[in-house]
Symmetry: C2
Amino acid sequence: MDLAQIGATPKGGVCRIALTELDRQGRDLVVGWCRAAGLDVRTDEVGNVFARRAGSDPHAAAVATGSHIDTQPSGGKFDGNFGVLAGLEVMRTLNDLGIVTRAPLELAFWTNEEGTRFTPVMMGSGAFAGVFEAEFIRAQRDLDGISVGEALEQIGYRGEQPVGEVPGGMFAAYFEAHIEQGPVLEAAGLPIGVVSGALGQQWYDVTVTGMDAHAGPTPLALRHDAMLAAARMIDEVNRIAVEEAPHGRGTVGYVQVTPNSRNVIPGRVDFSVDLRNLSQAGLDRMDAAMRASFAQIAQRGAVQVSIIQVVKFEPCVFAPACVDSVRRAAAALGLPHMDVVSGAGHDAVYVAQRAPTGMIFVPCKDGISHNELEDALPEHIEAGANVLLQAMLEHAR
Amino acid sequence: MDLAQIGATPKGGVCRIALTELDRQGRDLVVGWCRAAGLDVRTDEVGNVFARRAGSDPHAAAVATGSHIDTQPSGGKFDGNFGVLAGLEVMRTLNDLGIVTRAPLELAFWTNEEGTRFTPVMMGSGAFAGVFEAEFIRAQRDLDGISVGEALEQIGYRGEQPVGEVPGGMFAAYFEAHIEQGPVLEAAGLPIGVVSGALGQQWYDVTVTGMDAHAGPTPLALRHDAMLAAARMIDEVNRIAVEEAPHGRGTVGYVQVTPNSRNVIPGRVDFSVDLRNLSQAGLDRMDAAMRASFAQIAQRGAVQVSIIQVVKFEPCVFAPACVDSVRRAAAALGLPHMDVVSGAGHDAVYVAQRAPTGMIFVPCKDGISHNELEDALPEHIEAGANVLLQAMLEHAR
C-alpha cells in the first residue's frame, strides 16, 4: 500500500509506467527497503535490479524470486508489485527468524514488463533470457524519441552488470508469485494456483476483402459481404478453441470495418485473432483448422481472405522440480490449491529459458487486472507469500 | 456529359452537393436548357424546380417525370442526373417531332435527394409529398450552421410556389428513370427494369454488452464476449433475410468494438442492422425473428443485448397503371425487360404518396453507384429515355 502511493490514481489504481520519474521513486523505495533488510543490491545494464541475501555456502547458486513494479497506465496495486514485495517479505521473515540458508536468496525486479511506454513487453526478463540483445533494448524509443538507454540514465538505473550474468552462476531455481489476472481461482474458491506452465500464443492479422455495395439494391446472392464472412470466421475462432479444451483459447479483440456505414455492405474487414494453447502441437492444430475454415467461409461468401501471423510466444512448461515444490508448499501449509496454467505472459516465462522456474497464483477480485479496480484479499496475499517462502526454502536449505 | 463538367472530379465522377454554388451552376444550366426548349419554369419554396410543356387541354392534369441533380461527395454522372436529362430529352424529342400532347408534360428536379449536406435525404420530394413541413425543411442546418432557407436564398432558388401545389391539379402520373444502382439487370443482361415497387426499410442500433477481460487468463467458459455474440447475430441477420427470398435484405454495415484491443475480450459491440422487404408483413416477420434470435444468442453467450429501431420507411407498391405503362412501352420498343423492385429509396417513392407513379431502371456498370466509377452504357441510357417517352405519351395523349 505504501508503494501504491507512488503514481496513485483517484480511482484507487496506480499509474507508474516503466522508466519514468515515478518508476524511479518506486524503485528507490523498494531498493531502500531491500538495503534496510541487509540485502546487497546490483543493477544490470538494462535496469533489472537484483537484491541478494547471502547464504552459508559461498559456492551455491542463488535461489531467486521476483516480478515487476511498473504498471499499466490505468493499472492496479497488485500486478507485478505483489511478487516483488512477497519476495521482500520472504527475506524479512528469514531475518526475523534468524535463519541462514545454504544457498543465497535473490530478489529481482525486471524492467518494463508491461510494455506501455517502450516495446517489447517483458523487456528486462527477455534480455536476461538472451531473447533480446542489451543494445537492442537500450536503443528502443518511446513516442517522444527518448531511448531506453537515455531513460535509464535519467532515472539513475543504468547498471554495470552485464545482462544475463549472475554472481555465483545462474539461479538454481526461480519462483514468481503473481495475481492470477483471471477468474479461475476465484470461481473455484481456492487461494493458491500451482502454475504448471504458460500457454503459447500465436497472433494473426486477418483481412477479408469483398466489395462495397448499397445495402438496398444488392440482392443477397450477388453480394461480396466482408462483414458477414468475418462474422462467421469469428464464430469459428471460438469453435476451434472449444475443441482444444481445457487449454485452448481463441479471441477476436480487434475488428475494423470499411467503410463502416450502416447502409453499405462492407467491402473490407480487418480483424485480429489471438490463439493460445499449452502445446505447440495444439497451436498447430488450431492454426490449420483456422486456415481451412476461413478458406471455406471465404469461398462460400465470395470474398478473399488473407491471414498473417504477427506474434509468436512458445508454450512454456515449468520445471517439474519447481512446480512440485509449489504444490508441496501449499499442501504443507494446509492451503487448498489446484494446478492452473498461465494464459498470459510473465517474466517467469522468459526466466524459465535460463533456470528451473515455477509460479504461484493467488486470486484477484472478479478476475480483473490491468484496471484500477484490480484487488486481492489480504489472506490470499499472505497465503501466496507463505507458499513462496516454503518453496524457496526447499531449494535453498 | 456537359452537366457532369460542373463539379467534375479527377477520377471522372461528380461532386455537386445540394444547395452549393456548384448546385446553383448545375441548376442554372438545366433551367437554361428547359427554357431553350420552350418550357415554363417554376420553383417552389423548398427549391424544387418544375418545367412545364403545355398541352392542348387546359383542364388536364400534367403527366410528370423527374429526379435530382445533386450528387454524393464522390458521386457519379448518372445517379439522378440521368432521370432529369431523360425527361428533358422527352420534351426536346416531342418538340422536334412537333407533337402536342393533350395533357401538359412536366419535368421536376427535387432538392437534396442525397442528404449529404442537409438531412433528411429526399428532402424536396418528401416535402412535396407532405411528409415534411416546408418550414421544418427550411430550418434544417448544415455543419456550418447555414439553414436550407439561407442556402436557397444564396443560390437564388427560393421559389414562391407553395410546396405540394401543382398548377392544374396533382400529376395524373409520375415516371422516374434512374440507373439501377445494383447488379441485377447487368447480371440478367437486360437493358430495362420495370420497377414494381420499393422495399420498406427498418434500421436498428444494436448494443451487445459483455465484460472486458484478458484474452489469455480467461477460459472460454467464463467469458462474456460481446464480439462473439455480435458475430453470431450478424450471421443471423443474413439467415433471416435469406428466408425472405427474393425480396428480403439484411445488412450489418457498421460495427464498433470496445475496447478494440487484440488481446482483450471485447466488453461491448455496437452495430447497425438494416432490414428490407417488399411488404410490411415481411418486415414484421424479420423483426420478430431477429429479436428472438438475438435474445437466444445473448443468453447463450452470457451477454446483454439492446435493440432500438431508428429508421423506418414503409414498403411502396407503385401504381399498376404506371407499372403496366412502363412494361408495355418496353415491349412495344422491342427492349428486353424484367420486373424488379427498388432496394433503395428514390424521389418517386415519396411522389407515389401523391400521384400514380412508376419507375424505369437501366443497368449501371458492375452495379456501382455513389462512386466516381459509376458508369452506364449509351444504348441503355437511350433505351431508358425511349421507354420514358412512350410511358408518358400513353398517359398524356
